[in-house]
């Protein structure tokens, strides 16, 4: 058995990259906005944007996965919370529950703000639901246990972001995926893209002057996360260069591809890092560079997952 075949897979392709990207981005966005609301200052608009973005992105990512299932009705087994008792070793089971409960607690945390926002009350069906007596009672409960609800949503959000990496890590045949760096990389990337997304919002749709401190704070957090991501990626580069043929071939695929090298590392990380660094040290006279940096980080977030899925190399002994 002295021959080997090295091949990439075509089972989980772009749609899983979309699932992982939207999942991480939505979960981290919701978590950051709720923590900001609880520990910096109450911020109705930010929480509403965070909750809606989180729920919509997670619903979209789940829909992409659901659409690609072979046997749609069997999804009921993984939606049942008891799945964590009979399949605690399956990360998809954990991820599905994290996503579900993040949406539930996220909606509950945002409910009091929705009820005091006229735009929501004017919506046809949603307005009636929010204005109902049941919603009023729920708002009372949520206000009474505000931090508990916020933390339940945040913990499930963090769990979702970490899960996106643990899922890929659970495939032992591929050196690029099966290592402890993947959950770390995907979590850091999820929070970096979420800060970028929020910076984009704070420069376009939530343009309150009082939010200048938040913009600076988010920009600094994003800078630290991009720098961390670069360090992790350098570790990956070093790790894949030796140790296994699978890893080495993944390194060749990634670092020999201009899309990864220029598109992701260059424009998805280095350029936004420099733009945000200049913004953090000296500031910009226009919001355009920060908006451009945020858009580039978001593009990089998807590219990371896209290339990661396509560069996983299986080594078959035939």
């Amino acid at each position: 058995m002295d021959t080997m075949t090295y091949t990439t897979q075509n089972i989980w392709t772009w749609w899983i990259a979309v699932y992982l990207f939207f999942g991480g981005l939505g979960a981290a966005t919701l978590t950051i906005t709720f923590l900001t609301d609880m520990y910096c200052r109450p911020h109705r608009k930010l929480v509403l944007w965070g909750a809606i973005s989180g729920v919509v992105l997670l619903a979209a990512s789940s829909a992409v996965l659901f659409g690609h299932l072979l046997h749609h009705t069997a999804v009921i087994y993984v939606l049942n919370p008891l799945v964590l008792f009979y399949k605690p070793d399956a990360w998809i089971a954990w991820g599905t529950q994290f996503i579900l409960w993040m949406m539930v607690w996220g909606t509950l945390y945002a409910l009091p703000y929705m009820r005091e926002t006229p735009a929501f009350l004017r919506l046809p069906l949603v307005g009636k639901l929010i204005g109902s007596r049941l919603a009023g009672w729920l708002v009372g409960c949520c206000m009474k246990h505000r931090r508990v609800v916020g933390w339940l949503a945040a913990v499930n959000g963090i769990g979702t972001a970490v899960y996106t990496g643990l899922l890929i890590q659970s495939f032992p045949a591929v050196a690029l995926w099966h290592n402890p760096g993947v959950p770390l990389l995907f979590t850091v990337s999820a929070f970096s893209t979420a800060f970028a997304y929020l910076l984009l919002l704070l420069h376009t749709f939530i343009t309150d002057e009082n939010d200048q401190d938040l913009r600076h704070r988010y920009e600094r957090f994003d800078l630290v996360l991009i720098a961390t991501e670069l360090v992790i990626l350098f570790s990956f580069f070093s790790y894949t260069l030796s140790g296994s043929e699978s890893g080495y071939r993944s390194a060749q695929l990634l670092w020999g591809d201009l899309g990864w090298l220029v598109g992701f590392i260059g424009f998805g990380l280095l350029v936004p890092f420099l733009l945000e660094l200049k913004g953090a040290i000296r500031g910009w006279s226009s919001r355009l560079p920060t908006v451009a940096a945020a858009l580039l980080v978001l593009m990089g977030g998807y590219l990371l997952r896209h290339y990661f899925m396509y560069a996983g190399v299986y080594a078959y002994p035939w």
Partner: protein, 203 residues
């Protein structure tokens, strides 16, 4: 206790693919899209005068530590006490995580379309639901005291099926002697399909 395993002798596999055909008929696999529970890989090794052909039959390794079972979120993949790893098609939602986790490329998908084609191709199709699929060591035959279809049909007797927990079983003796080795044991999957390496003869 019984622990089933298979030994494949690469010296006597002639690449006739009878195992693939027998398995396909027994288990009604979607052969129209070149998907098989067992597949014989053919490779030419060496150059010029020194070239030789090597046939390597591949199937689910029914690992003791199966990564496909760990990642399965619905519990559709399960392991019997005798070590055979099975898939419950009714419970499988077809997320394909098992195919990603398997280092032996043993999994393939059966879609709604395949079920429709299968009814025309095989007539009385046993399967009702789409799912991920793989070799079952012909558990339905083994339970009746028969050998898996691929073992039964192998003209070169390259495939042997037996019980590792029975010291008198030829399969257990081959494995215990170290002549038969599993594929990629360093992955920690503890496979139960073993191979006797070929003698590198020209043929």
């Amino acid at each position: 206790m019984t622990r089933y395993a298979m030994v494949i002798d690469l010296n006597t596999c002639v690449g006739c693919n009878a195992c693939m055909a027998a398995c396909a008929m027994e288990n009604q696999t979607p052969v129209w899209k070149n998907k098989w529970r067992t597949y014989v890989h053919e490779k030419e090794i060496g150059t010029a005068e020194e070239v030789r052909r090597r046939f390597l039959p591949r199937l689910c390794n029914h690992c003791d530590n199966p990564p496909c079972l760990t990642v399965c979120p619905t519990g559709a993949t399960y392991q019997r006490d005798d070590g055979i790893v099975l898939v419950d098609p009714e419970r499988c939602m077809g997320c394909r995580a098992c195919a990603m986790a398997c280092p032996y490329d043993a999994r393939y998908e059966v879609t709604y379309g395949d079920i429709k084609t299968g009814r025309e191709f095989y007539g009385d199709l046993k399967r009702e639901s789409p799912s991920m699929d793989k070799c079952s060591f012909c558990a339905h035959r083994v339970d009746k005291g028969q050998k898996p279809a691929c073992v039964e049909t192998c003209v070169g007797s390259a495939r042997m099926f037996g019980d590792l927990d029975n010291p008198a079983d030829p399969v257990a003796r081959l494995v215990a002697s170290g002549v038969a080795q599993p594929l990629m044991p360093y992955l920690g999957t503890r496979p139960n399909v073993y191979y006797i390496d070929d003698m590198k003869r020209k043929g």
